[in-house]
Amino acid sequence: MTRNSLKLALATIGLVATGAQAQDVSLTIESWRNDDLALWQQEIIPAFEAEHSGIKVIFSPSAPTEYNAALNSKLDAGSAGDIITCRPFDASLALFEAGHLTDLDDMEAMNNFSDVAKSAWQTDDGSATFCVPMASVIHGFIYNADAFAELGIEVPATEAEFFAALDTIKEDGSYIPMAMGTNDQWEAATMGYNNIGPNYWKGEEGRRALIAGEQKLTDDPWVAPYETLAKWGDYLGDGYEAQTYPDSQNLFTLGRAAIYPAGSWEIAGFNAQADFAMGAFKPPVRNAGDTCYISDHTDIGIGMNAATANPEAAKTFLAWVGSPEFASIFGNALPGFFPLSKTPVELTDPLAKEFVSWRGECESTIRSTYQILSRGTPNLENETWGASVAAIKGTSSPAELGQKLQEGLASWYAPQQ
């Protein structure tokens, strides 16, 4: 009550103050990509505004870990922006089911996307699509090419070569072999477990079997990645237990670490920060000649707040986001976020080209915990963070971790019971 009347009062003041100016419609975008603020303000938004006079766009991001909570509260309170950046799968599905996102199936721009691209933002039966797919991110490892040349290390293709390279770097001692910390927890799961894991559970095959209940988290393909992660602890920097995500980024871009377990979203930031040559390699396969699998995760979509005051302008913006023109601007402005539209986009960044070339060589999958399996309590994704950290630190054995995760999942997910 109090809040509404206060808002009304503020709105009235706002109306009186702006009433004299031109009738520009202004759209606010909610996003968790605070790293991309400059790119949106300098490249993407001007490109849109140049074509659509009368619509002003404001990019208003919040911190990634706070985004979901902040967005949910804002939507419930009616103070969220007009355009909502969509997390993949259940987080956005819940928003759609709660009536916060609009069904966008009738938009023409939706035809520019494949069914796989749209699947992350559809109801389970595929009857409604509520976000325009924007981009996927690919996991792999970024390395300091100067350091590799200096130490005479070849880019590793198998796990044996990978650990041999780490040993060489460690023996030399001038670089920290790998830049990752466990303080923020998610890196261990996202850049650790879900980065190397698809090679173990054979990508989509294992992921779908897990959802169908044919495989369990105690099975070897799901436990073995923890055994590999357990070996990582020796190669991380001193005090990695308290090392945060920005610490790891800085360690790598300052040239103090040789390998960075990465997601392709790092490319833009690393290009700006690092003054040495960088390269990327895909997650090493277990044995030479194995089929490789990569995590090509549909990560980011964009939808419309059902309560927006400017639905027409919002749809105009979304249609533009769905166009090949946007895909080209976005893909090149943000190398490392790979557009999902059917029209192939010519990328110019060498590092981004390296990442996207793996799509042709390997089988693609998405992160194992994102679709359906993180619907209940305990939440499998969040549990996987803790488990990956425990594996790296060696505080629990891989078998125990698999057992604990399986018990948690089976407690609410019928096909696993």
Binding site: T2, N68, N72, Q185, Y240, E241, D247, T377, N382, V389
Partner: protein
């Protein structure tokens, strides 16, 4: 006999405070407690009675986290009671010494962290203790004690104690100020009378001053209790909503936040969150009642 008049001025003077307090405190409190009695099934809010509390206390998935958070909370409180308050009393006793020079400077320096934001304190200490850029490892190295350094905030066994000590550093000024004020209010005549009887120095503190400031220490204890069981900010700033490593710094505040608003793929559940908030309220209420009826009424007071 005239009918007693309604004394309007009392109502008028009380109204603003009562209205504001009701709107921003009493109503939200009871509404939160009410919310804890509901649950959401397929987008519809349904009344479930005490089932949320049953889940919280008896479902292993929830109760394990709940008892872990309570245990951590008591440890957090214990560190404050054992470290913050004795140091606060000691500092106040030293500051009130008449021959101490620069007392005002020390008083301000020790009190300043209290007025800093949690965010600043959290980030500053995270940087100080960072194994990579922090000054703590190099300072220890300079005196040859590098082997004592550990990434404290990242180790399950140290993280909570480290955060509790950071909080002690921040808030030690409050007990110091309250006790200092209490010490200054002790009349000189009493101390002089003591001196004539031969009670001076340390024994004057233990036998005369301490009994006189006991009520203040009681107030400080209860403030510490309420503050600690409502704590959230420092842990959230330093360790995030998952209160890592492995929930070793998870206290009721972070547990409630994570449940109520959700985290990453975990969707928020306002009803379970409210149940946790209700449990926090109950714990604090019981603690305050024990103090008010069990301790404060029995405390001896001296007319000064």
């Amino acid at each position: 006999m005239s009918v007693p008049r309604i004394r309007w001025h009392i109502i008028v003077f009380l109204a603003p405070a009562t209205l504001v307090y009701t709107a921003v405190m009493i109503f939200p409190l009871f509404n939160t407690l009410r919310l804890a009695l509901y649950s959401e099934v397929e987008q519809v809010r349904v009344f479930v009675g005490l089932e949320n509390f049953h889940t919280l206390f008896f479902d292993p998935i929830w109760s394990e986290q709940f008892w872990n958070a309570i245990g951590n909370n008591f440890w957090f409180f214990l560190i404050h009671m054992l470290v913050q308050n004795p140091i606060g009393v000691a500092l106040a006793a030293i500051l009130s010494h008449p021959r101490l020079r620069f007392a005002a400077l020390y008083r301000s320096a020790i009190f300043i962290p209290t007025i800093l934001s949690f965010v600043i304190v959290g980030f500053a200490w995270k940087l100080i203790l960072s194994p990579i850029w922090g000054i703590a490892p190099s300072m220890l190295d300079a005196v040859g004690l590098k082997f004592l350094f550990a990434p404290w905030l990242g180790k399950e066994e140290y993280a909570l104690t480290t955060l509790a000590l950071i909080s002690v550093w921040q808030f030690v000024g409050i007990p110091m100020m309250l006790i200092y004020a209490a010490l200054l209010s002790i009349p000189d005549e009493i101390l002089e009378a003591g001196e004539i009887e031969g009670i001076t120095g340390m024994s004057a503190f233990w036998k005369l001053k301490l009994p006189l400031i006991l009520p203040s220490i009681g107030i400080i204890s209860i403030l510490t209790f309420v503050g600690n069981f409502n704590a959230f900010d420092l842990i959230y700033v330093a360790q995030g909503a998952l209160a890592g490593p492995d929930f070793s710094t998870d206290i009721l505040g972070t547990f409630m936040y994570r449940t109520f608003f959700g985290f990453q793929l975990q969707l928020g559940d306002p009803h379970m969150g409210s149940a946790i908030a209700g449990a926090m309220f109950a714990i604090i209420l019981v603690g305050v009642c024990i103090y008010l009826f069990g301790i404060q009424t029995r405390m001896r007071r001296y007319q000064l």
